[in-house]
């Protein structure tokens, strides 16, 4: 059980939001968008493992 995953995702989201605001206020909107994209990719790559775990479990339990 890795409940830490949820807190990791929330922390990434908050950090990305703060950095995004910071970069936009200092006039670098492209880099702000890049930060957003990078955060999304990192979180997605963390989630994909979990989703495939869920799919494997469902396959094994329900015999799909």
């Amino acid at each position: 059980m890795d409940v830490d995953l949820i807190f990791k995702i929330a922390a990434i989201g908050i950090i990305v939001a703060v950095l995004n605001q910071l970069l936009i206020r200092s006039g670098r909107e492209e880099q702000g968008m890049l930060i957003t994209l990078a955060g999304l990719v990192v979180v997605l790559s963390m989630i994909v493992v979990q989703i495939s775990d869920l799919f494997d479990t469902v396959k094994a339990v329900f015999g799909l």
Binding site: I6, A17, L54
Partner: protein
């Protein structure tokens, strides 16, 4: 893991995830959806890893009722399809994509019908046997 512990774990995960989602939704909605998906997957994996006694009980009941194990397999597959379809449809709906959620539910229904085709055929053959038997006896 006993039942109370399981309940407390699931409730804790879901409440924390809901709070964090609310915090994130204003700034980064896409990460809030990712968080919801991750929390849902975690809780489902947690529940499914503890569900084995339920299945063995259902299997025993069906065997004592004289039903074949093939039908139980169909029912279990249908339950799995429903679970995944519900997860995906709810996630799409959270993301504001009601149309995609509807498509996910449609896919689930089609898969369920495909799973149930052998049972329909059995019912049909049973009905045919009954009708022909009545014709012969009458």
């Amino acid at each position: 893991m006993n039942i109370a512990e399981l309940l407390v774990t699931a409730v804790g995960i879901l409440l924390c995830a809901a709070l964090l989602c609310v915090v994130l939704r204003n700034q980064r909605p896409e990460l809030a959806i990712c968080l919801g998906l991750a929390a849902g997957a975690l809780v489902l994996v947690l529940l499914l890893s503890e569900i084995a006694p339920l299945f063995s009980a259902v299997r025993n009941m069906m065997q004592s009722g004289g039903l074949s194990a093939e039908w139980l397999a169909v029912v279990l597959k249908a339950a799995g399809v429903c679970l995944l379809t519900q997860l995906v449809a709810d996630t799409c709906r959270d993301a504001g994509e009601t149309a995609l959620a509807g498509k996910a539910e449609l896919a689930g229904r089609v898969l369920l019908l495909l799973l149930a085709i052998p049972l329909y055929e059995q019912i049909l053959s049973l009905v045919t046997q009954l009708i022909s038997g009545r014709v012969v006896s009458g």
